[in-house]
Amino acid sequence: MKKFLGNKTAIAIFTLPALLLYTIMVFYPIMQTFFRSLYEWDGLTAGTFIWFDNYKNLFDDSVFYTSLYNGLIFAAIITVTQIGIASILAFVIADGVVKGRRLLRISYFIPVVLSITVVCQLWLSIYNGQYGLMNKLFEILGIHYQQDWLSSSKSAIIAVAFVNAWQYMGYHFALILAGVRSVPEQYMEAARIDGATKLQAIRKIMIPMMAETYKFCLVFAVTGGLNAFANMYIMTGGGPGTSTYTLTYLMYRSAFRVGEFGYGSAAAAMLVIECLLATLIINRLVARERITY
């Protein structure tokens, strides 16, 4: 092994394909986005270099702040819902007491493999103000909370975020379940012998030992929330008005509807920075040291 790691040529040869792919597919487009964000550009002509004017305009644009706020709300909702519910389900399934575990495991994962368009159409019907299941449910329960879920500027983003939370909860469930199974049994056994309850053992032993799994889930949910697009594109078209815009949607509108690719690139650049920051913070706060069992 030592001999192999000493061979710099071998290292270069083996890492080069991945490095090249990464550079071409990820690094170069990101750099292009930053570069183009300094231009007034319609996507076809050469464009005019305008320094940081796009950023200045972006910071003066109220839609930018709406998008930023919506991204954060979306990320918060899906992070809490997905990781929270997925954890509860994973711990219950892993416990071994519940019957029909296999069926439940598959059921939780089904929404993940469904097309996002199908899921959105399904929830559009559920949310429908006139004949939707959601309002009917409230009616049956005798609760006067019937809403026009997607047409209200305030509730629309929450309603849309919940659809994403529901669909991808199964993905986090699978990750967390795998994490639970990888924690050696003897730790839990030792806790039980010491008199810890199931809840205490999960809280004090299981969750801290799964910090790396949770770190991955957090990064995935937070960045996924910040750059959400498909749900609002299909369900609300960013509306009503701009009330379900995220930075990705703002980028789409600027570049493809308004034809301001430079401005759209500035929004995209802000999104990249936002996601990088979120990832850095999560890495700083969660599982700073590698956990070995």
Binding site: L44, L150, G241, R257
Partner: protein, 448 residues
Amino acid sequence: MKKVATALAGLSLVFVSACGSAGNNTDTAAKETNAGSPAATEAAAATTAAPEKAVKLRIYAQYSDDDTKLPYDYAVAELKKEMPNVELELEVQAQDDGQKLKTYAATGNLPDIYQAGTDIINTFKKSGNILELDKFADLYDFKSKMYPSTMNTLISEDGHIYAYPYAGNEFMLLYYNKELFEKNNVKVPTTYDELMTAVQTFNKAGITPLSLFAKEKWPTVALYDVFATRTEPQGILKLQSGGASPSDPAYKQATEELYKLIQAGLLPKGATNLNFDQAASLFYEGKAAMFLNGQWEIATSTEKLGDKVGWMYFPAADAASYEKNKYAFVGGGNPGGYAVNPDTKDPELAAKVAAFISLKYAEFKYTERGNPMVATKVDKPIVKEYPPMMKQLSEDISKVTSTTAFDWGLSDAKFKAAIEDATQVLMTGGYSVDEFIKDVTKAIPNGK
């Protein structure tokens, strides 16, 4: 092996010489004939004239429903008779805000002929991806076949021609179900007060007053324009040009009236989430009393509701403004139609095909689709009789005092996006008049 090679070489030589001799023979024959009388020369020229070279042109056009498929198929069939050597390779236009076409332009893969609207014309003009057709304006007498009133669909803002239009000026109409109005003893409104009474009565009867597919943003802009044009006939066009501000009394009053009516339940629950099919079915099934859509809706509405359906002039603040602006129509036309790629091999031929297709497209719409709203004059008799609503509209066309523009005809993309967003939120009722005015004012170029 050597033998096989020799045999092949021999065969190929025979083939080449055969071809050569065939050509030579023709030449010789021609030369011999040339030596004869002039009449003989002409006859020979006629007999020996080679058929025109087959040309294949890529065309990017709408082809999604009967209203786009049938006229296109007719135009192509007519083209086959006119230019048998030209074959069109159709690529169906995507409903994607012109993204596919812009990507083609960016990658140098633009089709020879494509359908272009205002946005594409304005963008491609700057990037040099659209052929200026001024010198080809009279192919097939195109320019002279235009109606004076539809010249705005041919000539762009800069005075040049970039596309051959087929659609004329189109209008927004407020359709209504006569039976529902009669059954509920509601007068067809001419003023906002009467409209308010209608809204209240229909709501009490469990009928949606006005069905609007507000998930798409353009109908929301059109509804705002309906109210704005009752006092300022130039409506959203004047806002776009910076000639007026949404806070001007005319526009402010329009916003306030619309806001009041929405609060009173003018639109169905969740209107901003209703797509065309959902909104239209409310009207067709007699669950909505009114429906706002373009005049192209006439055919389907007549088919679904028969003589129960009609269209009304837009109500205004009072009887005087109703009469004054009765013929101030909402909608209009904008430059657009079949355009030509400047890099096409034979620009004149492509322009010829584009002009021909546009003429025939309009011809079919006029004669077979019951649609007189075309850009060019048609000298063929109408095959399909116009429905009564279209007859009424045709009679009114000469009385039209002003038009505005459809949302997609707005040339300032930034203003267009902003007014689309603002009017859509206005439809929810959860957006104050002042917020609306503030947001639209910000997007107005050189806004006051």
